[in-house]
């Protein structure tokens, strides 16, 4: 898909995500907005996932390991036509299957339930190895947060993937420099993140996580990786797209008011 179209899709995902955070009373908006451009590229440019193949054993797979960005994923899957956007109205309501963190089997296209950090990469690695065993060539993309890289299990998975040369596995790290209660580089010595993944045996590259061309190009390279898994370190801004949310960690937990939703929409429409 043409880059300009992806940019429009990303804008629509942002607008709907902000609205949904307000109506569903669901937080983690900053974390959702930081990965919207990545989600748009993954679903509308990189992976072979659509309404017809969503249950096919040879489909590509995407796992949102940073499950707290579920809102952005729900909106993206609805935009992709995997389920009716009408369902989004139900999001966050008592008893709804669209909860703050994804529920297994809740909507088509949701490959794994996540929410506790440090689980998604291992699950994605298991899917990749299952593909190898069954002689399928599907790709598996896993989106992690930088705070998530605090978890030791991420690095267990990283070492094992490298040992197995799982070239069909891609990890994207949404490096927005914040975690729940502070700067991610101050809480744990994450930096230099790209070198860490390289040292763990992965092909790694750093991109501007809000530049559609750069993300698309990195994903293309990652999906053609040879002999090793591929890590994309996406430098992002938490709350990206709404000036009063950008790089302000209060939006990890804050829910926008109706007025703030309106202001956010105005800003996004002007971009």
């Amino acid at each position: 898909m043409h880059k300009d179209k992806i940019k429009i899709i990303a804008r629509n995902i942002r607008k709907q995500t902000v609205s949904l955070s307000h109506s569903a009373r669901i937080a983690h908006l900053g974390s959702s907005l930081s990965c919207v451009d990545i989600l748009a590229c993954v679903y509308f440019n990189a992976l072979n996932i659509n309404r017809k193949n969503v249950l096919h054993p040879e489909r590509d797979r995407f796992i949102l390991s940073k499950g707290h960005a579920a809102l952005a994923l729900y909106v993206t899957l609805a935009q992709k036509g995997l389920f009716s956007p009408m369902l989004l109205n139900d999001c966050g309501q008592p008893g709804s299957l669209l909860a703050e963190h994804p529920i297994p089997g809740s909507i088509p296209g949701l490959e794994a339930a996540t929410g506790s950090l440090g689980h998604g990469l291992s699950i994605g690695l298991g899917m990749t190895l299952a593909g190898r065993i069954q002689l399928y060539d599907f790709k598996v993309l896993v989106l992690l947060s930088d705070g998530e890289c605090n978890e030791g299990s991420v690095w267990e998975a990283a070492m094992f993937a490298a040992a197995q040369h799982t070239e069909n596995l891609v990890a994207i790290i949404d490096y927005n420099k914040w975690q729940a209660t502070g700067r991610s580089d101050e809480i744990m010595a994450l930096s230099p993140l790209k070198q860490k993944w390289s040292a763990f045996g992965w092909n790694a590259r750093e991109v501007d996580g809000h530049n559609i061309e750069e993300i698309a190009e990195a994903l293309r390279a990652a999906l053609n990786s040879k002999d090793a898994p591929y890590a994309i370190i996406a430098n992002t801004i938490k709350g990206r797209g709404v000036s009063f949310m950008e790089d302000d960690n209060n939006w990890h937990y804050r829910i926008p008011t109706a007025e703030e939703v309106m202001l956010a929409h105005q800003e996004l429409d002007a971009q």
Partner: protein, 320 residues
């Protein structure tokens, strides 16, 4: 039990191409034959049980039937959240094999003892917990686990335990096996205490107390049909397990009893106390230390049976 598991899995894997064996850097030479026959369906996942458990979930989500293997404490509570979220929340057909359960590897120290695994796993929805009583039951339980469409924890002992069954019994998850029928008391044994329970049952019978022996291999789902039956027909029902008295078989039965109308039978739990064993010594030594011995079982059963009957004279009469 270990060797029976490896042998049976190798047999089953030739017919079921979905079976994948994941080992947490355990089972040196145990899987040599399996590895030669199915190299593409074996992964040594290293000393990284959390990752291995997540991998198993991913494989199951992609249509395979993974079996994870390590020493009981490391394959259960070390990676408990992966079992809970990745496997059980998704209700995936993964078989988790914990070897050396209870005090089997007591000689390796408290770190390698697993007397809390049943309690830790039992509260997680969707999981079945099966503790085979001998190597034959291991084979039957593995067949059942691999046919089961959901998570199963198989709790194994070590190797060279005495055999109770002559042939492989058909194991149905949640349905206990009556090893020997009796009239006065009923011993419900789970897992690797079965040979000891069998010896105790024999001893009690010789003393004139007609003793029924049950291999209560499945702790979850609980065999409520059998419990209803034995609690309404025996004077004393005793559970035996190499596990903490908290949250294991005895705990499960006590919970079940609390929700039932008063039962005919008295109930006694034979289990490990709520303490760590600190010291050297093998399984037999630690069993002795905690009173998990034939004579102690016989003594406790007689004492409790006497209480059921009310007086020593009745017991004498009953014994005669």
């Amino acid at each position: 039990m270990r060797n029976a598991f490896a042998g049976e899995l190798t047999k089953l894997a030739s017919n079921n191409l979905k079976i994948v064996l994941l080992s947490g850097d355990m089972g040196n030479h145990l899987f040599d034959k399996y590895k030669v026959l199915f190299p593409e369906r074996f992964y040594n996942c290293g000393v990284a049980e959390s990752n291995m458990t997540g991998i198993a979930a991913g494989m199951a989500l992609a249509g395979l039937k993974p079996v994870t293997y390590s020493i009981a404490p490391f394959i259960t509570i070390r990676c408990l959240e992966q079992i809970k979220i990745d496997i059980c929340y998704h209700n995936l057909p993964v078989v988790i094999i914990g070897t050396g359960a209870g005090l089997s590897y007591a000689g390796l120290g408290t770190t390698h003892q697993s007397c809390d695994d049943i309690a830790m796993l039992r509260v997680i929805p969707n999981i079945s917990i099966v503790c085979p009583g001998d190597a034959m039951e291991v084979r039957g339980a593995l067949r059942a686990a691999l046919n089961h469409n959901g998570p199963v924890y198989l709790r194994l002992g070590k190797k060279d335990e005495p055999l109770i069954h002559k042939i492989v019994p058909v194991i149905e998850i949640g349905k206990s096996l009556i090893i020997k029928r009796g009239r006065n008391i009923c011993l419900l044994s789970t897992g690797n205490l079965l040979p000891l329970a069998a010896n105790a049952a024999e001893n009690l019978t010789r003393l004139g107390i007609s003793t029924q022996l049950v291999s209560f291999h499945t702790i979850k789902p609980l065999d409520e049909t059998l419990l209803s039956d034995v609690f309404s027909s025996f004077q004393l029902v005793v559970t035996l397990e190499e596990h903490s008295r908290i949250g294991g078989l005895g705990g499960s039965v006590a919970e079940w009893l609390s929700e039932m109308p008063p039962q005919h039978s008295r109930f006694y739990r034979f289990a490990l106390p709520d303490v760590f064993y600190k010291g050297a010594g093998d399984q037999n030594h630690v069993r002795d230390y905690f009173g998990i011995t034939k004579s102690e079982i016989v003594q406790q059963v007689i004492k409790n049976y006497r209480n059921c009957l009310g007086s020593g004279d009745d017991l004498q009469n009953a014994v005669q």
